[in-house]
Subunit: 262 residues, 3 copies
């Protein structure tokens, strides 16, 4: 199993083109996070071109944060095109559980078997059909409560499932790791989960899904912890996070990543 | 009448879920401003779920900055659902007076009697049917010129009307206060009025509308003044404002708020 | 020929209202860049009002970054209204060459003869019908490779064409200049080309197109170089760029602009 730093080095060396269909709140943040780690982001969601572009890009992320019926068509078309071209794609089921539309959309996308499913504990519990206590986009459940649901979903989709929180959990249904990092301040900054989804999409291109997802979480979590220690609050945290992601070296990531097999 | 600091403490203690239908320029800023003061924002505007979500959230903000006919349907449905569920909602009639579409949309939403109407002087004048001299989204009129219009609109809607500018004015048609704060630098930063609308929406949940609106303006104005003194320009002002809102204590707000009864 | 500083002074003195139909990633950045240089931005793209507003505004920018068929109608209507009212408008053909939809849309807008066409080298090559090697929104070609294509497009449209990169190139088909400035760090920050397009739109109002476009590139490039020297990475670069644009004086711009006639 290659180290997180080796994954980061490959990402920097290949600078993959990543297509993102994400929400309006997060678009700028996701693009800047992908640029900071070394990828080339493209926000392409129009139904007129989303599937065509998925054939050009190295990978895709789909985030339902502000989706509607029109965006649903683009998401489905792009995800199908990515799968057909053997490109990895990530699903971020933002606030699933909150409304009927969101539940139907997330279920439809999950049935397309994303390479990686990434969410908070309440979202993963809701997707697995269990009772969750999320409030809007925020999780009301600890990561530990969603570990079984994550394993179940990984086995059902054949993909990787990542649960983000105080300690992240990543599983492919067989293997599983926990990853320390981040900072409570990140809960006071919008689109942090969306940015992590974007970073996962960048690490995935041309790399093994489970290992790449672990590396992405380790990189983002370490950068978050460093940036929080330097920031004066949630406003200065955002710029500090991007500076830290950009300055992160493979050696630093390997030395400081908090990964533990379960 | 409870103090502004008491309102801030209640907001922090309850961390209300606030739904926002706002414009594309402001979405990220509004979400981060609400998080910084202690609320849990959710940007939910799709017609497929906007009204359903309004029943779940503690309050709603509606901002017409980049609306079109599709968004109009969502705004009306969400505002009606909020009213039906006795949830407070705020209307921000961005750039009303500039185009026919904007005038019709703002009038339609105003007829739904928002709990709070918040705008700059030109917008409040335009909504009241008087001659205004706004330029796009920027006010061309001083707050003092819109005080009578604000009283008139408050009496007509039965709600609170707030006019933002160098000195803010808040009235419920009977009582009125002026609030000092802010900084001219905020006129060189986009979406500051939208962010204030979001902060008003956060303070409103579970609190009395007139007092909560005054507290929100005092909090935002004080944070703006402090942040402007620390910032090196309009770019560093944005992060400084969020840091300051996050660090504001109820005691500081009570000690430094510039509120004067009219 | 008036100096860049003289153009900046005129912009600050007149504070023109500029309408922008730009992409979701860039809206906040474009608005803040225009505010920082002294303009009054308005993001107005709804088909219900885009053309009406173009008659009110002093100028218009059209950026196809996240366009779809609905936005295409607004872009065409606003560009036609701007032209009919003798208002200058800028076209930014983001990622043209990537998809068939994007190629058709850019060609249709180009046929409306924008006052200024601004893009990276791959975009200008693609628009001129030559082979380009762009990757998503990023250029794969040096500016020098697109100078002939820029001259050709300027002659065909009767407007100004600007190619942005390590050294910018601006031509009206007859005259041409190269402009030094910027920093490689800007390639790691999203929406920098879009922000430059917004700054060009601000300089254009009431000023001669070729000279104003040169002045805008000189101003943005100088600010970018100064901000990059002060920033700790791509995250802190954003706020530093806006602070620097806001603090730029006409005298500083005239003293330090790196403009050379070709």
């Amino acid at each position: 199993m290659k180290s997180p730093g080796t994954h980061l080095k490959t990402l920097r060396d290949t600078a993959p083109l990543v297509q993102n269909i994400t929400n309006f709140v997060a678009m700028n943040v996701v693009a800047n996070a992908q640029l900071a780690v070394g990828a080339s982001p493209a926000m392409v969601h129009a139904i007129e071109e989303a599937a065509e572009f998925a054939g050009l890009a190295g990978g895709l992320t789909v985030n339902i944060g502000t989706a509607d019926a029109g965006w649903e068509s683009s998401m489905v078309a792009a995800a199908q095109a990515a799968s057909a071209a053997d490109k990895p794609w990530v699903l971020d089921p933002v606030a699933v559980g909150a409304t009927g539309f969101r539940n139907r959309l997330a279920a439809r996308l999950l049935a397309l078997n994303p390479t990686v499913l990434r969410g908070n504990a309440s979202e993963i519990l809701a997707l697995s059909g269990e009772v969750a206590s999320g409030k809007g986009v925020d999780s009301g459940d600890p990561v530990s409560a969603a570990e079984d649901a994550a394993r179940y979903l990984a086995q059902r989709t054949g993909g990787v499932v990542a649960v983000s929180g105080a300690v992240d959990f990543v599983t492919d249904g067989d293997r599983a790791v926990r990853i320390e990092g981040g900072d409570p301040l990140m809960g006071r900054v919008t689109a942090m989960g969306c940015a992590l989804t974007g970073v996962v999409g960048a690490f995935l291109v041309g790399q093994k899904p489970f290992e790449a997802t672990v590396a992405a979480h380790a990189c983002f979590g370490l950068a978050g912890a460093i940036a929080a220690a330097r920031a004066g609050g949630p406003g200065s945290f955002g710029p500090a996070l991007l500076d830290t992601l950009h300055a992160m070296t493979p050696e630093q990531l390997d030395a400081e990543a908090g990964i533990a097999a379960v």
